[in-house]
Symmetry: C2
Subunit: 237 residues, 2 copies
């Protein structure tokens, strides 16, 4: 079969992903480095028989060399690339900091969020929105857990929140809320770390993951919560 391309072709579908990682330097993003100080986000096209999510997952895995912990679709941008229409479906990915820093992936740099320089307008919008979404979801989901190792201390958890939000949070209030939320299991073990009191270790309590909350195709399970805003208990009779 042959298609004659006229001046304008139908829009091409492109996938763009923003993998975040939490390391010593705080929150950083995987980019392809280019000209000095110019980077671009990970992108690719879905194969003809590939769902969007699996294409995004594959792109992240291929480029950074290991699996993401969490993947969420963000937004779809329509724009022109070289005079052709295209459509960019953007994704947020979270990966755990790997100790195997030996096998740093070629063509990939992890850059602190505030140092990322993106020449492309769409890339900048994608990154900006990814950060907004990540920060917002910290407040009402357990999304932060995908940035941490399976066992962690409350201080580590707090540092993760602070790194993402970009500002300090109150220790006592933070701990109270986290424990009250019920998503943490305290382990019997403690971690002896330096010349100070050892810290209790925690893990995430539930396998059911609230992070995707309010995003299809899983949104329905949580719909009640969403519609309970602006209602009172007696109203739901």
């Amino acid at each position: 079969m042959v298609i004659v391309k006229t001046t304008a072709s139908p829009p091409l579908v492109r996938i763009s992903a923003v993998p975040f990682r939490l390391g010593r330097a705080g929150l950083s993003v995987a980019v392809h480095p280019g000209q000095p100080d110019e980077q671009r986000l990970l992108a690719g096209a879905p194969g003809p028989d590939e769902w969007l999510d699996s294409a995004a997952r594959r792109i992240v895995r291929e480029r950074i060399g290991w699996d993401e912990q969490y993947l969420e679709q963000l937004y779809t941008f329509g724009h022109a690339t070289d005079g052709n229409a295209s459509v960019t479906v953007s994704y947020l990915a979270l990966v755990r900091d790997q100790d195997r820093h030996d096998q740093e992936s070629p063509g990939i740099a992890w850059v602190a969020v505030h140092d990322v320089t993106l020449p492309s307008d769409v890339d900048r919008q994608v990154l900006e929105y990814a950060l907004i979404r990540l920060r917002a979801k910290l407040g009402y989901t357990n999304i932060a857990f995908h940035l941490l190792p399976p066992r962690f201390t409350l201080s580590e958890l707090q540092l993760a929140y602070q790194a993402v939000l970009g500002h300090p949070v109150d220790k006592r209030n933070f701990r109270r809320r986290m424990i009250a939320s019920g998503i943490l299991d305290q382990l019997d073990e403690k971690r002896r770390d330096g010349s100070h009191r050892p810290a209790a270790l925690y893990r995430f309590a539930s396998r059911d993951d609230h992070a995707a909350y309010l995003t299809p195709p899983w949104a329905a399970e949580h719909a009640e919560n969403a519609s309970e805003l602006l209602t009172s208990r007696s109203d739901r009779a």
Copy 2:
């Protein structure tokens, strides 16, 4: 330019829109009626030089015969149509109930949300998610205003909320919150309606519209709010 098409072609971009309207029968949705009791959502393809939003706007306008009040991208679904990959970018649209019911558009039916029957899986997901999003946004944006005429009473506003949420809300609390929110201007005029006390008329106070809150490309303006979850005042020093 010539492209040789192999067995599978690249994904096609499709746009799907869910226009909501608030009428006597409560919240209803514009669909194309088909086989008895089978409907489908409004859909179309973006022109080669058309942005996604304008394509969605055009599709809504063409089909229902008047402009939408509010348009918001929801989610992008990847799926197969007739064995070919395609990508559906879904949109939520809100329209004001028009008095010009004379010019009901051909090929369109407005069906109460709970009576919509969609044979397509993707269509069902789109509608479900549109409702979830609309309900959620009632709680923290002024999105409801796009379903109402420019001047309205507090009772009408409350009925709109109830129709969307699907349950009653407390009158006194509702009024207090609405007035406290500051998005309402009370007009000097009142509406005499039946054999009872006349109701004060209101309109929306601000031209700046919080409904798109947390959705690109406007999300940035509201980013501070988003990241203020889980923080205390003193933390932001």
